[in-house]
């Protein structure tokens, strides 16, 4: 966006850096395959027999992804894909480790889901050569998201798991539509806001230092608020509810540059949270368990806090360096392979492993926001910022919940947790981010051609950002 004349960056051209990406991918594969081998050695005492096959499959997936990036997104950010590959490989290894002691077969399924995820990643990059095409599907995406969110409420296919009605089940296939809805919502918000942001940004009146929006402009935010509350009330899904509303607030703020929206949204959030806390016992339980988990743990209590307390014990047991794969007892934590996978990592890889994972997540967010900053179109900015923001928010909500920083809500840990819908959706998010960053980092086309083209896009682009 910073194309004011005399900008010293104007002559700057991003390098493609595909070789760097390949090098980092080799490191990422070393993490994933090395962790898989370490699991075999630590738990069973031998290198896994299928190491070559497993490693080969993982490597093939990653190389295919890399080649597609090389072919279709030449200028895309070189760090994102390796970071994601490392996280996904680590997640597979940890799930495999839990499989070995819990006698489950999640890792093999997760590898299939990863294959599907990489397939969608490739498809996204191949068929979506310019992310602005997505603006055509603004309302379609929004509608799709709402339909997906409503699916679990339907009889027959809707499925309630652990008190949260967020699953649909078609025969043997379980699916959390909320994860896909998340991506569609970002697309829908970005498309909507990029069109309406001027009205949302400029109209309104000033009250006590804060620019308050017009009443009729409050429609979308109120609608989103109601949807979030609906998810909370009818699906009992605290995490998604928080995530969707937070995402919307983020994007609204980025689009309008008005802190007033944050005030309005924050107020709505607090009000909704307070009412939910007063009305719903499951919300109260979560808060109580968060405040004093040890009162809800052990004999003589109803053991509501069994999962978080066991996770806390496990992470403490891991300490600085962790117990090593096979050295801990992460299976004590229920659902260690999905929502609580960070507890398993903290126990066996220690604070060091936790920090490494947090840094990798931080890198993804940083890269997403960087793509948003340098993107040359408003839609791309909103899309990248929204995807980065929702990613950061999800990581914060789920890891903060597992480590006891905030009340526990059920969300998957991106790329690590067992769960197909989440994995597939997150691979698509990465593909979208790569696409935005690819366009953003491409050399600026000859100005003459831009002027000749003179389309609608330009009116959006020439916004002076100081």
């Amino acid at each position: 966006m910073s194309q004011a004349t005399g900008n010293p960056l104007l002559g700057f051209v991003h390098r493609r850096r595909r070789g760097a990406e390949l090098f980092l991918l080799v490191l990422a594969l070393a993490v994933g395959i090395g962790a898989y081998a370490a699991v075999g050695i630590g738990v069973e005492g031998t290198v896994p027999a299928d190491l070559v096959g497993y490693g080969g499959w993982l490597a093939a997936l990653v190389i295919v992804a890399h080649l597609v990036v090389r072919a279709t997104a030449t200028y895309a950010d070189p760090v994102l894909l390796p970071v994601v590959a490392a996280l996904n490989g680590l997640g597979l290894a940890v799930i495999h480790r839990l499989d070995l002691t819990e006698d489950t077969g999640f890792a093999a399924q997760q590898l299939i889901w990863m294959t599907i995820g990489v397939g969608l990643f490739v498809a996204t990059l191949l068929f979506l050569r310019d992310h602005r095409i997505l603006t055509r599907f603004t309302y379609t995406s929004g509608l799709g998201a709402i339909v997906l969110l409503l699916l679990p409420m339907l009889p027959l296919i809707g499925n309630e798991v652990r008190g949260a009605r967020i699953w649909i089940r078609l025969g043997p296939l379980g699916f959390q539509p909320g994860e896909v809805a998340k991506v569609l919502l970002v697309v829908a918000f970005a498309g909507y806001l990029v069109l309406h942001r001027d009205a949302l940004a400029l109209a309104g009146r000033r009250l006590l230092f804060v620019d308050l929006p017009r009443g009729r402009d409050l429609g979308p935010i109120l609608g989103m608020w109601l949807i979030s509350l609906g998810i909370l009330v009818f699906q009992r899904d605290l995490g998604s509810s928080l995530l969707f509303f937070g995402l919307f607030l983020f994007m609204l703020y980025v689009a309008t540059e008005r802190a007033g929206w944050l005030v309005v949204g924050g107020g709505l959030f607090l009000g909704g949270a307070l009412v939910a806390w007063q009305l719903f016992s499951h919300v109260q339980t979560r808060v109580n368990v968060w405040l004093d988990p040890f009162s809800y743990y052990g004999p003589g209590t109803n053991d509501t806090a069994f999962q978080p307390v066991e996770a806390t014990f496990g992470m403490a047991w891991g300490g600085l360096l962790g117990r090593g794969f096979g050295g801990g007892d992460p299976g004590r934590v229920p659902f260690a392979e999905s929502d609580f996978i960070m507890a398993a990592i903290g126990e066996e890889l220690g604070l060091t492993g936790m920090m490494a994972v947090l840094l990798l997540y931080g890198l993804i967010v940083e890269r997403a926001l960087r793509a948003a900053l340098i993107s040359r179109d408003g839609f791309g900015k909103l899309l990248a910022a929204g995807l980065g923001g929702v990613f950061a928010l999800q990581v914060f909500v789920v890891i903060g919940g597992v480590t006891g920083l905030i009340p526990l809500t059920g969300l998957t840990t991106p790329f690590l947790s067992y769960g197909g819908s989440s994995l597939v959706a997150n691979w698509v998010i990465i593909a979208l981010l790569l696409r935005v960053s690819d366009l953003a980092r491409r050399p600026v086309p000859e100005l003459a051609t831009v002027e000749e083209a003179g389309g609608d896009d330009d009116t959006q682009v020439i916004r002076v950002a100081r």
């Binding site: 966006m1 910073s2 983020f250 703020y253 980025v254 689009a255 540059e257 040890f294 743990y297 052990g298 307390v309 806390t312 014990f313 496990g314 992470m315 403490a316 047991w317 891991g318 300490g319 600085l320 801990g328 007892d329 004590r332 903290g346 220690g350 604070l351 936790m354 920090m355 947090l358 997540y361 931080g362 967010v365 940083e366 926001l369 948003a372 900053l373 408003g378 900015k381 909103l382 910022a385 980065g388 923001g389 950061a392 928010l393 990581v395 914060f396 890891i399 903060g400 480590t403 006891g404 920083l405 916004r463 950002a465 100081r466």
Partner: protein, 500 residues
């Protein structure tokens, strides 16, 4: 739109920093306290999956970890469970993490847990070697001061006198060092049941023991305080000699009865239950031999409440001094007393109450030339390969009396064994010093408590013993007397130590 994106990135940065700070706090600063939490099953599981060090008496392990093929890799096993139960305690799923519990019963398994589990700093080098050589780390061993023969003699002797339902305790000390040579409390229990890996059986056994009216879990040697009765006359005599009132060769007050000052009638009248205590003045030796209540009540009043208390505290009363088994009941000597109370305290009644350990320390102090040694149970700690890595140094607790006073008291006590009430403890060819005691419980329904304290050989003491019989259901009330019941037990223990 770049400004809000930058703001957003700062916000994301803060979220990640918060996560990192929180996880650092959790896994670094809070980790130790969480790992010590009794509810943390991981620490317990880990403790059960590595060999724990042995508790040794002599060269024989009385507690050891044996390979097991059930849910844990090692089963804690006690080879002589009944005789050593109160010393070793037990190690199971529920108390494996009681390090954090200060009010819990802590026996050697708990007080030496760091060493037995291998976490002690003194085992650092061993741990490092294990780590580098990739061997399973093991706990260190703890060698106790107990003498297996003395312990056996104490256990067998006490059980024979008490019968199956009796209550009592024995403590034997090495006077020179303060080593505990024997410590037995009855009724006892089988720690193997409590160390089972079958948790429901452990719970059932635990409940059964808790509900038992005989309180088998109580270590009466250090946790029960009872009036020491006539054995306390040793302290009264020590106070009188130490303060220059009398010498062992002097005549002391006597008489068939003594009306406590400020009292009238039977309640304040002290007699000698038929023993010969002369008319008014009798030899000090005779008063000790015949355990004259009139003598020592009058003597205590002459010494005075303050000096009596000073003397009792010099022997260890009103103090905590034993660290290897916890908690320890404090032997009591009252703070404020008038004359009649002082008179009663002089014969070990009123509010005087002592543990068997405390009474053993009184005679051990006299045997050691007046110096009371701090009692201890853990002699040395060893690496998993049985190499000594640390040994407890004997430590003086106090100078209770001078060497001259100690000698005079020894003479009086030898004479009590040779010619007096303590005769049952006499060992042919060995000079034994001893004193009996029979203390009124203060409740007509509860039979009196029998005591016996002694040490031998008198000229070069190797062992000091205190026997306390709280309840001996098989024995007639009239026959409960320190000499008759306690003497033979003390004799057996002393012989076991001397005849080594």
């Amino acid at each position: 739109m770049n400004k809000p994106i930058r703001t957003l990135s700062v916000f994301c940065l803060l979220m990640f920093l918060a996560l990192m700070a929180n996880v650092t706090y959790l896994q670094y600063w809070r980790a130790d306290s969480l790992n010590d939490d009794g509810r943390n099953r991981r620490a317990v599981d880990a403790a059960f999956s590595q060999p724990r060090g042995a508790i040794l008496v002599g060269r024989e392990p009385i507690a050891s970890s044996e390979p097991s093929d059930d849910r844990y890799e090692y089963q804690r096993t006690y080879s002589q469970p009944l005789a050593y139960a109160h010393v070793t305690g037990w190690y199971n799923y529920f108390n494996a993490q009681s390090g954090a519990c200060s009010s819990c019963q802590r026996r050697v398994e708990q007080t030496q847990d760091d060493l037995l589990s291998g976490e002690d700093d003194r085992l650092f080098v061993t741990r490092l070697v294990d780590l580098l050589s990739n061997e399973e780390s093991a706990g260190g061993n703890v060698a106790l001061t107990l003498d297996p023969d003395a312990q056996r003699a104490a256990f067998d002797g006490l059980r024979e006198v008490l019968g199956p339902d009796g209550e009592g305790a024995v403590v034997a000390l090495e006077p020179r060092t303060g080593k505990v040579l024997a410590m037995v409390s009855l009724p006892t229990f089988d720690p193997n049941r409590l160390a089972s890996h079958d948790l429901s059986e452990v719970t059932a056994a635990g409940d059964e023991l808790e509900d038992d009216p005989g309180q088998p879990l109580l270590n009466r040697a250090i946790q029960t305080t009872l009036p020491p009765g006539s054995t306390f006359k040793v302290v009264t005599a020590a106070a009188a000699i130490e303060n220059g009132l009398y010498e062992a060769g002097d005549d002391v007050p006597g008489g068939p009865s003594f009306q406590l000052p400020q009292t009238t009638g039977d309640t304040g009248l002290i007699d000698n239950e038929g023993r010969d205590c002369g008319a008014d003045r009798i030899p000090f030796a005779q008063s000790m031999e015949n355990s004259c209540n009139t003598t020592f009540a009058r003597m205590a009043i002459e010494v005075g409440a303050d000096r009596m208390r000073d003397q009792a505290e010099a022997f260890g009363f009103n103090q905590q001094y034993f660290e290897d088994l916890l908690p320890q009941a404090t032997a009591r000597f009252p703070e404020e007393m008038n004359d009649p109370q002082t008179g009663q305290s002089g014969i070990g009644q009123f509010d005087v109450a002592a543990t068997p350990l405390q009474m053993a320390m009184v005679v051990a102090g006299i045997a050691n030339g007046g110096t009371v040694m701090k009692p201890y149970l853990v002699d040395e700690v060893q690496s998993p390969e049985f190499e000594q890595i640390d040994q407890t140094d004997p430590e003086a607790l106090s100078e209770a009396v001078s060497a001259s006073t100690a000698n005079q008291l020894t003479d009086l006590l030898v004479s009590t064994v040779d010619n007096g009430t303590a005769r049952p403890a006499a060992i042919p060819g060995v000079q034994v010093a001893g004193k009996t005691g029979t203390a009124q419980s203060g409740n007509p329904d509860v039979p009196p408590y029998a005591w016996f304290v002694s040490f031998a050989p008198a000229d070069d003491p190797e062992v000091a013993v205190a026997v306390m019989i709280q309840k001996a259901p098989g024995v007639d009330r009239g026959e409960i007397a320190g000499g008759l019941l306690g003497g033979p037990i003390a004799k057996a223990i002393m012989e076991a130590v001397i005849n080594k």
